[in-house]
Symmetry: D2
Subunit: 142 residues, 4 copies
């Protein structure tokens, strides 16, 4: 396994909430990340679909990792928007994020979230957001 993916897996493993959700980093290279979440019963909402909060978590985290691949590990998601396209059903949720543009201080990234059912992927949400490097101005988290 390459070093960047190894580093990413360590960071993900150090996030208790990612462990709670059961997320796995399945690909991580410069400007590109893939995060997978096996769909278990406790990730659902009242109608049996994956809860929007899980999809948002996957988008948010994939965006952050994508931005981090360009800006370094000390990054946070500043903002993002997400459009849900259809109810999410299946066995696996996959979030794939890419860097659209990166400067010194922040990166704009995009994420597509798919469900996998019987080996077939289906796009269920799309997201776009800004990842910011932190630590440049101590005490300034905005």
């Amino acid at each position: 396994m390459d070093e960047l993916l190894q580093l990413g897996k360590q960071i993900l493993a150090s996030q208790p909430f990612s462990t709670l959700v059961g997320a796995e980093l399945t690909a991580f290279s410069l400007g590109r990340v893939e995060l997978a979440v096996p769909i278990t019963p406790n990730l659902k909402q009242q109608n049996g679909f994956v809860h929007g909060g899980v999809i948002s978590y996957a988008a948010d985290n994939a965006l952050t990792f994508a931005g981090g691949s360009a800006l370094g590990p000390a990054v946070v998601t500043s903002e993002y928007k997400i459009n849900y396209l259809k109810p999410a059903m299946g066995t696996l949720l996959i979030a794939r994020a890419t860097v659209i543009h990166s400067g010194k201080a922040q990166a704009v990234c995009r994420c597509e979230i798919f469900t996998v059912n019987d080996g077939k992927e289906e796009l269920c949400a799309v997201s776009q957001g800004t990842i910011a490097r932190i630590g440049r101005s101590p005490g300034d988290h905005a």
Copy 2:
């Protein structure tokens, strides 16, 4: 307890992911909702702050409930955006959402997410999004 809040609590309790996160509905009336999430260790990221995915979950769900208070229980979040303002620390996360405008088919809502520490609230994120009524066009989830 009033009927709408009682109904809202039942819906929230029927969402396995909301149970996993530990969310509670603390207020629910026409056009207004308050969702609280006690901050436990498993909701955090690697630096000890509340994971953005949890904040997004709270925003998403509060927006949906706010929209549902105007449109009825059969609603989904179509889309939203969120801006994180500062790292979220404290003992409790509170998401307060309101309906800005509601039509027949959808409602535009806003949500403010606060952390509570030593009884003091601090705004940590703001969100805006669209809640759509479902069931009008069977098979059309967009």
Copy 3:
């Protein structure tokens, strides 16, 4: 010229604000649109760059046309978000929008906005939004 492009040009020509801005529809097919705006002095802000409002106009309108290619001509932009990537300079602004997902009532679309300088394109903004079909519920514009 094909019929859809011809129809699109007529619609654009019937928008006084598009005429004021000087926009041209340069491509229009199912799920895909290209809108071009020659950069003239009156489209700029105080530092000589294209005003963000022009870029937003181009994104908004390209998104609407893209959605309209899937949903029919009676559509409006419900919402969108835009990230500006760099100051926009050059001779031409080009907005290219595509449909990501379309249902019966609405379509989620994406738009990339480029500047052209010395024949070289550069991405200056990215946008994502929802286009809604109107006329389904008379009197309900939300």
Copy 4:
């Protein structure tokens, strides 16, 4: 007229596109701005409503001025999202923006856009976005 409003009016007057649209700064203080656009025929779309691009322009510019009131004049809009609530008709468009949170490098702002008809205001769009201070990292516009 107070100094900040006077300065704001000068900046607005130095934006050719704001002159083309006919925008006026009607209030400007720390964390709060009001921008007015008289609704003229050339600001409309094909159905006689104010073009979304005009509403977006007003939101974008009001957000930027609001951010600038907190961060200083050297600012740009990094990103924003807008939800259109209803077709915009009337004699005047008013965009009111406020600062929600401001750090050293950026400010998150909110904007409400109203139409005025027969002296009656009606909310027609809501927006939320990030304004960034420029000039901290020469050459880095992201």
